[in-house]
């Protein structure tokens, strides 16, 4: 975990409303594990002070990139970031995904910017497998070619049927799941909370492993403020776990969803 004034190398529209921000960050870049994230200080974020968390989409010795969508004040203000600007980042943060189990079949499940967070995982994984990507429409399904280039089979689903199976990610996943040796599956999931919960429920019911990347509002990003907590099951009941520090990756069985 380091704080670094990173220099913007590239900032461009990627697809639909998604943009990629690439930063020269020789200090943070080499630290990154798949599934980790950055706390980024948005420059010129008028009258708002907190950093914003972003999954790391790519990382190497020279730097990092994030893939993001403008959804609110901070991400909208990011539009003004120009190559050459300085952006203050803290990273890499969080636990990241564990090593994939060599005896299991890896499955990726993602929605929205989740594809980005899983891309670096796929790049660094020794095996390949199958990837279920959900989105509202064709334009929301990111990086299909890139995953295919890494040797993954991609099965998209869209709410409107413009690409792949029509429906939620489960519409493609459920029939497929029935044909597998279910216990050998190892899921890596990153997406909106309902998707996480749906996959987590299936993992518990069918006794496979599912690593879920949780998205909670954050303030500090380093475990100090106790903003980002979720209920984690313990022997007797539950305890708060910090998504930023103890997560954002949790195994489905750890999570108590009733909050």
């Amino acid at each position: 975990m380091k704080q670094e004034k990173a220099t913007v190398v590239e900032h461009h529209n990627f697809q639909g409303e998604y943009r990629i921000l690439r930063l020269a960050a020789p200090v943070v870049g080499p630290l990154v594990k798949p599934g980790q994230f950055l706390e980024l200080q948005v420059p010129r974020l008028d009258e708002r002070i907190l950093r914003r968390p972003f999954s790391i989409y790519q990382a190497d010795a020279e730097g990092v990139a994030v893939l993001y969508k403008a959804v609110g004040r901070g991400t909208e203000a990011m539009a003004a970031i120009q190559p050459g600007d300085e952006v203050d980042i803290i990273g890499s943060l969080g636990n990241g995904y564990p090593e994939a189990d060599a005896n299991k079949t890896p499955v990726l499940v993602a929605g929205g910017y989740g594809n980005a967070a899983l891309y670096i995982l796929a790049q660094r994984m020794e095996k390949t497998g199958i990837a279920f990507f959900g989105g509202r429409s064709e334009i929301d399904i990111l990086l299909v070619k890139e995953f295919e280039a890494l040797g993954w089979e991609v099965r998209p689903t869209t709410d409107d049927g413009t690409l792949g199976t029509k429906g939620l990610v489960t519409a493609a996943f459920d029939p497929w799941m029935k044909e597998q040796e279910i216990e050998t599956l190892e899921l890596f999931v990153c997406g909106p909370n309902p998707m996480l919960k749906a996959m987590g429920d299936r993992a518990i019911a069918n006794k496979f492993t599912a690593w879920l990347s949780l998205d909670r509002n954050m303030a500090c990003g380093v475990g100090a403020c106790l903003t980002c907590v979720i209920k984690r099951k313990t022997g007797e009941g539950w305890e708060w776990a910090r998504c930023c520090k103890d997560g954002p990756i949790f195994e489905s069985r750890e999570i108590l969803w009733n909050e």
């Binding site: 975990m1 380091k2 704080q3 200080q41 009258e47 708002r48 002070i49 907190l50 950093r51 203050d88 803290i90 909670r216 509002n217 303030a219 500090c220 990003g221 380093v222 475990g223 100090a224 403020c225 106790l226 903003t227 980002c228 907590v229 979720i230 708060w240 520090k245 909050e259």
Partner: protein
Amino acid sequence: MSVDLKIKIGSMEMKNPVTVASGTFGYGPEYAELVDLNRLGAITVKGICPDEHVGNSTPRTFETRGGMLNAIGLPGPGAKGFIEKYVPFLKQYDTPVIVNIWGKGMDDYGTVVEMLDGEETVSAYEINLSCPNVKEGGSAFGTEVDTFSRVIELVRGKTQKPIIPKLAPNVPNIAAFAKAAENSGADAISIMNTMPAMAINIDTLEPELANKFGGLSGPPIKPIAIKLVFDAARAIDIPIIGMGGIFEPEDAIEFMIAGATAVAVGTANFVDPSTIDRVIDGIEHYLIKKGHSSVADIVGTVKA
């Protein structure tokens, strides 16, 4: 030219006047990779009560114009948990540790001190009498002078270590509380806790915090805190730890000129963890530039 940054809070020596605000820095390890804990004047940890406490539901924080609200609700490992989990870590550093304590009832304040007092690593107690986010105790103790004094006297009876009551800002007469703290045996006071506040989502009609209310912190409250420190400093002879929206060295210096012997960096840690370093450097440079030799030369020097 060299300046002496050392200060004392009761018997506790600090190598410089800069600590962190309780609850914004965890228990030490959280920022240890970003901040050199040996550089700090003192580490102030998050509020501890005798037993484990779960705190509030989420959402617990909300960003406002220029600042933030929090209603974390004082979750924590309790005194025993703190000793087991964090004291071994904190021991490694050459920096005094101020433990922020609170209670659900008056007795808790005594109990938690009894549980912690044997630990050499615990250098002082900050007594939270002003948390706006817990129903049981917190601010109820901090807005009524008699109760306020009784809690301090109770803690005073349990320890020789410095005790530092933390005052609530939402009172019309902070001087009365400062004076009561001094008379009840406090070694210093700290000012201020967050300001009771609220935000409502106009689409869902729900409060933005699960706890409904929270405390406002960050730059918006600095001018309020400066006034409270000034008023309190006029009323007492014991030192004040000033806090509330310190983001730049100049903010810290302003607190000291208003009457604070030490300062605490809070919300700024979330925004820029290098703030503490910058504030310590900035105070040193200011003293040199102005030809002073020690921190005491500027404390309370406001011409008013």
